[in-house]
């Protein structure tokens, strides 16, 4: 198993001595670098990113994704293309072998994920994006963990954005429906009042009606001035609201352009939008 004796549990499944589930997979929590000024360029950009998990093969090959102020940027692409990997790379959850990440005029490539949160980045991962055993309200509080000021008004704003969460605030988040969980996930990420929001398939596994509703909410968030970098399965609908679009194939940029350009591009239509 990946060559390391420490990662070999010899098939142990005894839950009376070890807890089930994987421990955190994110590397980079111990990264101790600092941000260096690097003026110019888009608000958030992962540029020429090359890298993979641990010592494994490269998943990303010279991949670039960016979002500018006041924009929604959408990443689409087939399953396994490395969209989620690209998002994690931008957030510092895996080590880049080449390339850099810059935020608001600073090079943050050597920052740990928790330091990037402090710099104003918010991230909703694709899976396990809520604390299931905590209540909805505690999920939001944990979102605001790094804030030492009074965050009650932010919480009120999130309850206004997602009224159902106010109703369910004392309930364990794991008991909610798929759409409600995604609302908790987005709400948690908004609690820091991020300067940029990254969403990995926020509409995965929800019904079409809930999906439209979520899209509306996301646009609403974008209107408040938070740039959004988003991975989406529903390519057509997402590109319609996108200022900028990226098509990722095998870890590399295949096409990029404005949302409208991509929707109009016959190649993109044929391969990714079903004609």
């Amino acid at each position: 198993m990946s060559g390391s004796a420490y990662q070999d549990d010899r098939g142990n499944k005894d839950r009376s001595i070890t807890k089930a589930g994987s421990p955190g997979s994110a590397t980079g929590a111990r990264r101790k670098g600092t941000a260096v000024p690097a003026p110019g360029g888009p608000f958030l950009i992962g540029e020429n990113m090359t890298g993979g998990y641990g010592k494994g093969p490269n998943i990303l090959e010279n991949c670039t994704i960016a979002v500018d102020e006041g924009e929604i940027a959408v990443i689409v692409g087939p399953n396994g293309a490395g969209k989620s990997t690209a998002m994690k790379a931008v957030f510092g959850m895996l080590d880049l072998r080449e390339g850099s990440v810059r935020l608001d005029g600073e090079d943050i490539t050597s920052l740990s994920p928790q330091d990037r949160v402090a710099k104003g980045m918010g991230f909703v991962p694709q899976t396990s994006n809520i604390f299931t055993s905590l209540t909805v309200e505690e999920n939001l509080e944990m979102g605001a963990f790094i804030r030492r000021d009074d965050f009650r008004d932010t919480m009120e704003q999130i309850y206004d954005l997602f009224p159902i969460l106010r109703e369910k605030r004392r309930q364990a988040a794991g008991e909610l429906s798929g759409g409600q969980r995604q609302q908790v996930a987005v709400g948690r990420a908004l609690m820091t009042k991020p300067k940029v929001l990254m969403l990995d398939e926020p509409t995965a596994g929800v019904s079409p009606i809930v999906m439209d509703e979520l899209f509306d909410r996301i646009i609403e968030v974008a209107r408040t001035g938070i740039p959004i970098l988003m991975v989406e399965q529903n390519a057509r609908q997402a590109l319609e609201i996108a200022d900028k679009g990226y098509v990722l194939v095998q870890g590399a940029n295949a096409y990029s352009g404005s949302g409208k350009e991509l929707l109009a591009d016959p190649e993109v239509r044929k391969s990714f939008l079903g004609g």
Binding site: D9, Q114, E138, E141, M142
Partner: protein, 336 residues
């Protein structure tokens, strides 16, 4: 009258000792369950961590006694307890620095940490024996009884006496305070909630800006405090002997698993279930039955289901039954 005598005898020999023992097990099991929930492995060194904390407390107790400091009717060990806790915290943090952290950095699988904790267990076990010796140490002082059997008989006029040892009273009071503080901390404070969040989802905790190393450190500090309190209470109530603390690992693990590993409420419930089972099964019921049954039915033998030598077998059997029929424990631990 016979009925009352039966109740008093039952309280004296079963209820009171089992409640005290149950509180001690619960505190021990809480430590095990916290490590399991947050560091993802069963810590085999927990019994010896308890022994270390108790030893530290005993050393401070002796020092206080030599200075002539006492706590009136209460054991001097209670005064030394905070210092003992600090000592235990120091050794536990040192161990984490020197041993466990390396494995966390390698992202080692939890089962490897289980084996590592066995190594820590042997080292800590040896350390305690080198420092204080392998023998019994009795360090309880102050008044021995809250109420003696004789006083109770005089007060009530019953044939049976009810004795409550000071240490039993202290055990229950201290356990309630410790558990209350722990639950308040986990459910009401920002740091406590961040520990639960980390236990729930490590990656997301990281994304929320929760520092994993800090969570781990606070967990060890709490565990050291719980272990020392549990060990000192047990030592005051019975006696301190390093080997006995090592053996305590079995009932403590049984408690944590029966209640549901990862669940603090389960750890407490499990502690009392194991304690009551152990005490009732190894108790000679002859006396109580003699009061309750008509003359003709009175038992000849001791009516003891098992000799006290087998008390560890009781924990083991309960553990097996629970694992067979309700493997997640009674209180649905995180995910046993």
């Amino acid at each position: 009258m016979d009925f009352l005598n039966a109740i008093v005898a039952l309280s004296n020999f079963v209820l009171v000792p089992a409640i005290a023992y149950g509180s001690q097990l619960a505190l021990g099991a809480l430590g095990v369950t916290l490590i399991y929930g947050i560091l993802r492995f069963s810590n085999f060194a927990h019994g010896d961590t308890m022994a270390f904390g108790t030893m530290a407390t005993i050393l401070f107790t002796w020092w206080f006694q030599s200075l002539g400091i006492s706590f009136g009717p209460l054991p001097t060990a209670l005064l030394a307890l905070p210092l003992g806790i600090l000592g235990c915290m120091a050794i536990v943090l040192l161990t984490d620095r020197a041993v466990y952290r390396f494995y966390r950095e390698q992202k080692a699988k939890p089962v490897i940490l289980v084996i590592v904790s066995m190594g820590v267990m042997f080292i800590m076990n040896g350390l305690v024996r080198v420092i204080i010796g392998p023998d019994d140490q009795n360090f309880a002082d102050g008044n021995r009884f809250v109420i003696t059997a004789r006083d109770f008989k005089q007060m009530t006029g019953l044939d049976e006496g009810l004795a409550i040892k000071t240490t039993q009273g202290i055990t229950v009071v201290v356990a309630i305070i410790a558990v209350g503080l722990l639950f308040w901390f986990l459910n009401r404070t920002r740091t406590g909630k961040s520990m639960r969040a980390y236990s729930d989802n490590e990656d997301l905790a990281l994304l929320s800006g929760i520092n994993p190393e800090r969570v781990v450190m606070i967990t060890w500090l709490i565990v050291a405090a719980l272990a020392t309190v549990a060990g000192v209470l047990y030592g005051l109530d019975k006696t301190f002997k390093p080997f006995v603390y090592f053996q305590l690992l079995l009932p403590i693990f049984a408690s944590a698993i029966v209640g549901g590993l990862g669940s603090p409420v389960g750890a407490i419930a499990g502690g009392f279930i194991i304690a009551f089972s152990e005490v009732t099964i190894t108790y000679a019921w002859k006396k109580v039955l003699t009061y309750l049954l008509p003359e003709a039915w009175q038992p000849d033998g001791l009516v003891q289901l098992m000799s006290t030598d087998y008390k560890f077998a009781v924990s083991f059997v309960i553990l097996l039954i629970v694992l067979l029929f309700k493997p997640t424990g009674l209180f649905k631990g995180k995910s046993v």
